[in-house]
Amino acid sequence: MSPLLVALLRILAALGLMLFNGVILIWMLRRVLGHLHLRYGPIHNGWQGLLQTPYDVLKLLTKEDVTPSAVDRILFALAPAVVFTPSLLAYAALPFSGTWKITALDTGLLFTFAALSIVPIGILMAGWASANKWSLLGGMRSAAQQIAYEVPLLLSVLPIVMFAGTMNLGTIVEAQSGTWLGFIPRWNILFPGFWPTFVLFWIAGLVELNATPFDMSEAESELVAGFASEYSAMKFGLLFLSEFSNQFVISALGVTLFFGGWMLPWVPVELVAPFAPFIFMFKVYLGIFVIMWIRGTFPRVRIDQLMQVGWKWLIPINLAWIIVFGTVWKLFTLGQGVS
């Protein structure tokens, strides 16, 4: 097949995955929150609550798209696209198995973060264009929060890059095959040196996702729907979808960097290969379940408290940890005679 056709099919596959993910996550969110919060309705819509998703999707598709007259029309229409497209881009470097990936980028990790960092622009556009003071506040908060936590997010994964020697996500996953001492899988999460890394990545990731406890930009009880207040129907659907797909991406990154990607512990790579995508998806959805669990339990942090933690605590801790880890790792490799 011509490379162009293959590329096109891969892009369509990514789009399909994104939509499929959105559908699954609507159901999962309703179900998880339903059980956590004793909300009985969504759990009983159809068998296991599966009808909830069609209800939600149909509702969004058939709603009237209301555009308030005072909005900045171009920005208002463009903002959901600017929020949605980078989320789609971020799927490019994720390794679903040894051979299943949209593309094998040598700078995959950097590319994914770079794609995700375009999202705050879209949110700011949405907040500004909405001609609504509450949306403006939501957009401003979101921009401040996400820009502030880009740096800790990037810094937190540097030790892994040092350890694996590459930013290629596929290579990082393959480096986690095998075992230490014969019985401990080489997953990065099980290496004590990466525990601070994981915690820092987790916190920064949650902030980037605009997920509770860091969802000030869409704080339901303060700003109605924050930056998305004035959006209805499919524009809102796009914003919604991109939020779900961001959750998928961050969870997938976490799985790839720390939990061995598509691999199973102690099972050789060749046996796993046919099931690899399913294992990967299972792990990713487990991660998303934890995100939703946290969302359903914790109250919200205040924006200024969040900014203080980000700038005054997370960045210095990240930098310090990189120095410590880098020094120890360099000494270790020198001692091993491996450069």
Partner: protein, 402 residues
Amino acid sequence: MIDARNIILETGSLAAEGTYNPGRPPASIKRTPSGVDGLTTEHLIINMGPQHPSTHGVLRLVIEVDGEEIVAAETSLGYLHRGIEKLAESRRYEQLGTLMDRGDYVSGIHGEQAVALAVERMLEIEVPAKARYIRTLMAEITRIASHLVWFGTFGLDTGAMGQFLYAVRDREVLLDILETVSGQRMMFNYVRPGGVVADLPVGIDAMIRSFCDGFDGYLEEHHDLLGGNEIFQHRVKGVGAIPRDTALAFGLTGANLRATGIGFDVRRDRPYDAYPELEFDVPVGTIGDAWDRYMVRMEEMRQALRMIRQCLDGMPEGEHTARVPKVLRVPEGEIYAATESSRGETGVHIIADGSVNPARFHYRSGSLYACQVLEEILPGHLLADAVMIVGSLDIMLGEVDR
């Protein structure tokens, strides 16, 4: 265990220190352009409400913000004004309870009690012991129900949605109890001058006891989930602190006043119904911030539970109401009677002129004064804090607007 760090369980002290001397009125809303190095900025004037997920009822707060910091705030009321005081002048004394039900609709029994007490004192009716105990029992059950609403919505304001639904789950049991006793989940019309409408039904004792036994554990769980959460504590500690003299000068009552350290509780200091015979503590805070108000109300729920058990254990035999004429005609006179409602002092001032309708019926509610104090304490806080402060003051618009 509920952290008793800031709770002083006192049985005395009505003292307050200092005198509040405002040098200026609460800041009024105005657009003020301000300049910094040639860059002009303007304060944003935002409307919080009347439709807003966090103002409890149709409260409209006009807030002037500088970025995220509140510079001035103004409460705009009247969205729920139904003219209760005017309507009361064409109602008979037996019907006034229904109007009070619709004031503070979450804790209707307290309002009905206030009216009943006022009429009984004017007519010098002696309420039989059993009726007094039943009224106290219902009042404390309503107090827990109301505090659960406050607790749930307070958690909802912070973004913790689960706590709201857990609180509602417990409140459903209480509403079932209230429905079994009075026939209604909300507008009870149960407490009347002279006693209560009907005796307690058979089996209610077991129902209430089973709730009490479960609720001890649930209350700890609620407190763990919300108050024990460090994010919540950071949102709430030090926020919205009301100094004692300010609280007194603004006429605050109830948990809002007790959180500042002034231990005035109508149940203990102007006792009515069965309260003189019950043993309970009155929790008092120290600095009057949102955390203190939270702790005081959580402890009040525990004390209410204690009182419910005492009422059940000590329920006397007797009539559920005194012999009261069908149509009450109150001779010329005037009285003020107050009860400790979940929101403060709910008082009723009736001026009677000898006919079957009151000449003047004034409804003194605790939430009106809480609305006033908002204008005083909001400036200087962040916008997110405004939500927490409004939530912690437990304002119910029904009794503010009447």
